[in-house]
């Protein structure tokens, strides 16, 4: 995708700069360090994105899709809120230079963030701080007890974990990080995330649904 090739976020990820390697989360007893984004099906199946299953068959995949849609809806909602706050984003842009378009979008995004921060009375920052303090960094996933046999992916973590082990990501590896393990690792991650639906909490959620 051309968009991916020029997005600053993705460029940072390709350079190995963005998702810090200091975080680990555990799914089914397997921990990995590359934190994914919930994305829709327009994105390639990289390890960075948690994509929905295209053809969900079976309750586990369906539940995964439900939860993933719920996460993905945030940005869709954001576009509605952002554009109703700043109508200039809604109409066809009148400016000629791309730089000015970028500036306008950035400025409205900053003002939007200030609004959100104000509406919560600084609640976001306070809550984030207190929750992280209470959590103490001992966060584990919930799929620990699930015994699963579906794992056909590679046994190791994705390349993010390997780069940590290497501890000095030199240039080709760092450029390889975001995109290298495309299909296998993404599928592997999907399977692992889907396995996380095995727990009692997710089954109860399925019953609720």
């Amino acid at each position: 995708m051309n968009v991916m090739a020029s997005s600053p976020l993705i460029l940072d990820v390709n350079a190995g700069a963005w998702p810090q390697r200091t975080y680990k989360y555990t799914l089914n007893g397997r921990s990995r360090r590359l934190l994914p984004y919930a994305a829709d099906a327009g994105y390639p199946r990289n390890a960075l994105f948690a994509l929905p299953h295209l053809k969900p068959d079976g309750p586990k995949l369906l539940v995964y899709n439900f939860l993933q849609e719920a996460g993905r809806k945030d940005t869709e909602r954001l576009y509605a809120v952002w554009w109703s706050r700043w109508f200039i984003m809604k109409y066809p842009a009148r400016y000629v230079s791309v730089l000015r378009l970028i500036k306008t979008a950035k400025a409205t995004a900053i003002l939007h963030n200030m609004d959100v921060d104000h509406k919560r009375h600084g609640f976001i920052a306070a809550v984030r701080r207190s929750a992280a303090a209470a959590d103490g960094g001992s966060r584990t996933g919930d799929g620990q007890s699930a015994a699963f046999t579906k794992d056909a992916g590679p046994q190791q973590d994705c390349a993010w974990g390997e780069a940590v082990a290497a501890a000095t990501p030199h240039e080709p590896e760092a450029a390889d990080d975001g995109r290298g393990p495309i299909v296998g690792s993404a599928r592997y991650m999907h399977m692992a995330e889907t396995e996380a639906k095995n727990t009692d909490r997710h089954l109860s959620l399925l019953n609720d649904l």
């Binding site: 934190l35 996460g71 954001l78 500036k103 200030m114 609004d115 921060d117």
Partner: protein, 150 residues
């Protein structure tokens, strides 16, 4: 835009060089800062053309255009590092906790992009920005979390 946010913006901006009220060569005071800020915010907030608010704010359309441009630049200079940045470690920790509670453990947020249609594109650049509907547009890519915090 909530009033305290406006006050915060206005207090930050009202004594800046372009914005403060000056006296011109004939000794008459020029436009007050609140005129320019209000006009620029009307352009941003209501998507008006720059000469829509000229009678309301008593400014010329070129002044409003200039003010809008300078306002965006001012906001970006002053607050980009505060409000438009990657989450810090502490925030990321909290985002991960909340997303784990929502059933997506280890998820950093949701990412999506949209097309902002481009009306006055340059012909030379037009071909690069064709979207799938045949219109010219610029792609905006955002990441946000549960609070709609970009």
């Amino acid at each position: 835009m909530p009033r305290p946010v406006f006050h915060r913006l206005f207090r930050a901006i009202y004594d800046q060089p372009f914005w403060r009220r000056s006296v011109n060569a004939t000794g008459r005071p020029q436009a007050h800062a609140i005129q320019k800020v209000a006009a620029a915010l009307r352009v941003l907030g209501f998507g008006e053309s720059v000469d829509r608010a000229d009678e309301y704010c008593r400014l010329s359309c070129s002044t409003i255009d200039d003010a809008t441009h300078r306002l965006t630049e001012f906001i970006i200079d002053k607050w980009e590092s505060t409000y438009l940045r990657r989450p810090t470690d502490v925030e990321l920790e909290h985002i991960l906790t909340r997303n784990a509670a929502r059933g997506m453990p280890g998820c950093m947020g949701s990412i999506d992009y949209t097309h902002w249609q481009w009306h006055n594109f340059a012909k030379a650049l037009g071909g690069q920005y064709l979207d799938r509907k045949g219109r010219r547009s610029v792609v905006i890519e955002t990441v946000c979390d549960e609070d709609l915090y970009i």
